[in-house]
């Protein structure tokens, strides 16, 4: 059985149940239970028509649950037990599920979990493992999220920016547990590109592909973080780079620039270069200027200083840090890098050590500690 094929059917099946009169929360629960059963039984006994099987079993599960609930409350069942099978506008349903699961009112962690379950077709157990929390906690997080959006109709217009942010968060989570969340984010974004007509959706997909293409080179032995300048570029996936660049070019041609397209443009310039020395840093700085204009983000300002340092020399990079807040995560790391290039090894070593104490992840901490050690070694007579 192809598990990813099964998962692709999940949002459409939820859509069918909702159009037959089920509320979203119950429909989604029924489909989740059905999915778990399919994962158990299909390998030995695959159905001829997987979608029809899912709809039939999920609808039965929904009715059982609705009847139990109705009798508990002493009420009549509100939906027809035998619905007419109308035509199925499955793609619309899927798009609407993206919007419903990524409601701006939901906390980010809840929107992520709900999207992975209802749109991605992952099981609660898989999502819990990926985010390193107990399955019971993840189940509660999802049902609370569903309670918060209860009553919102499936056909309500959604907020695309929130959907994109949720997909980007999933992509950034990378790889833990048995699910490759980066690959899953790419799959969901590809699907969204097919369902929408927005340059920024394509921009996000291009950004993901261009970063994903370099994944193999980004970590070395034992999960060691390898900085861009030291990456083995022969490990880069040229197929993904070509695809990412062509998606980006088509998006940019539409003249509706947004932050994901600008970030993808920067990633494309890196992906296109044979080495850091031969990278078009001047153009990268220009894209950072665009990105800064679009977002006003302090993190962008910080990253821009690195690019300025490469384009115009470390002193210019340090000058560009003047209007960046030192409270930002990675400020010390960036300053250390520029100081070292400017020849101030003493200060660079101190700053690398300071940066390692402020790191938010284990690979980053280890990398920065190693950098501090490397610079200190250079200082020894």
């Amino acid at each position: 059985m192809n598990e990813s094929l099964l998962r692709e059917l999940v949002p459409a099946v939820i859509g069918v149940l909702v159009r037959r009169g089920a509320d979203f929360a119950s429909a989604e629960d029924a489909v989740q239970e059905t999915l778990i059963r399919a994962l158990e039984t299909w390998p030995a006994d695959p159905p001829r028509d997987p979608k029809a099987w899912l709809v039939t079993v999920a609808w039965r599960k929904f009715l059982d649950a609705a009847r139990a609930e109705a009798s508990r409350r002493g009420r009549e069942l509100a939906v027809d037990a035998e619905p007419s099978a109308g035509p199925a506008p499955a793609t619309d349903d899927t798009l609407r599920l993206y919007f419903l699961c990524a409601q701006p009112a939901l906390p980010a962690a809840s929107a992520v979990a709900l999207t992975l379950r209802a749109v991605g077709g992952l099981t609660t157990r898989q999502i819990a493992a990926a985010y390193l929390v107990p399955e019971a906690t993840m189940a509660q997080r999802i049902s609370r999220a569903k309670r918060r959006i209860a009553g919102l109709p499936l056909d309500q217009p959604g907020d695309l920016a929130t959907v994109l942010r949720v997909l980007y968060l999933v992509f950034n989570e990378g790889y833990s547990g048995d699910v490759d969340l980066a690959a899953e984010a790419i799959r969901l974004t590809r699907q969204l590109v097919a369902l929408t007509d927005e340059a920024e959706v394509a921009g996000l997909l291009a950004l993901m592909l261009l970063h994903h293409a370099r994944r193999a080179s980004r970590t070395g032995a034992g999960g060691r973080l390898v900085p861009l300048g030291e990456q083995d570029r022969s490990l880069w996936d040229t197929g993904l780079i070509t695809e990412g660049v062509s998606i980006l070019q088509a998006a940019l041609a539409r003249d509706r620039l947004g932050e994901y397209q600008a970030q993808a443009a920067i990633a494309a310039l890196h992906a296109d270069a044979p080495s850091t020395a031969e990278t078009d840093w001047v153009q990268i700085v220009e894209w950072y200027d665009e990105l800064l204009r679009l977002t006003g983000s302090p993190v962008v300002r910080l990253n821009r200083a690195v690019a300025v340092g490469e384009a115009d020399g470390p002193q210019a990079g340090l000058a560009a840090l003047a209007d960046v807040s030192p409270d930002l995560p990675r400020y010390a790391a960036v300053t250390a890098y520029l100081r070292e290039r400017a020849g101030d090894l003493e200060r660079a070593a101190e700053l690398y050590a300071e940066a390692s104490r402020a790191a938010a992840s284990v690979p980053e901490r280890d990398h920065l500690t190693r950098e501090a050690a490397r610079v200190r070694q250079l200082l020894r007579p």
Partner: protein, 134 residues
């Protein structure tokens, strides 16, 4: 974001209500244990609970003593300043939420049924995966 709420037998500043637990009434002990359980259940319901464990006060320090030699053990060290009693791990939206929850946990009842006002240490976890940073 995951945070560790760390409870100390020793090493934290003194609680406001710091009568030792063995001098409480049995009902006060029950009320305390129940509070801790309810707190964990409530966090499970909000989707924020990750783990909760208690540690025995006994133990020892252990270190490698060279090739072919048995590890050296030492202790327990009565004079050790810091002694961890247990922890709770939570997965929450923000530092502020972590602080809020630690505050509630610190209100667990002690002697006289009054909140202990125990000092809890709140520490962020480092993540295992690093966000891309170019």
């Amino acid at each position: 974001m995951k945070y560790l709420l760390l409870k100390h037998y020793r090493g934290a500043p003194a609680s406001v209500n710091d009568t030792p637990m063995d001098q409480w009434t049995p009902e006060e002990v029950d009320a305390h244990v129940q509070y801790m359980r309810d707190f964990a259940v409530r966090l499970q319901e909000t989707g924020e609970f990750v783990d909760s464990r208690a540690l025995a006060p006994e133990g020892a320090f252990v270190r490698y003593d060279g090739e072919g030699r048995a590890p050296v053990t030492d202790g327990p060290f009565a004079e050790t300043k810091d002694l961890i009693a247990g922890w709770m791990i939570i997965d929450v939206e923000s530092w502020d939420r972590a602080v809020q929850l630690a505050g509630e946990l610190s209100a667990a009842p002690g002697a006289g049924g009054e909140p202990i006002h125990e000092w809890l240490e709140v520490r962020p976890f480092l993540t295992e995966s690093s966000k891309f940073t170019e």
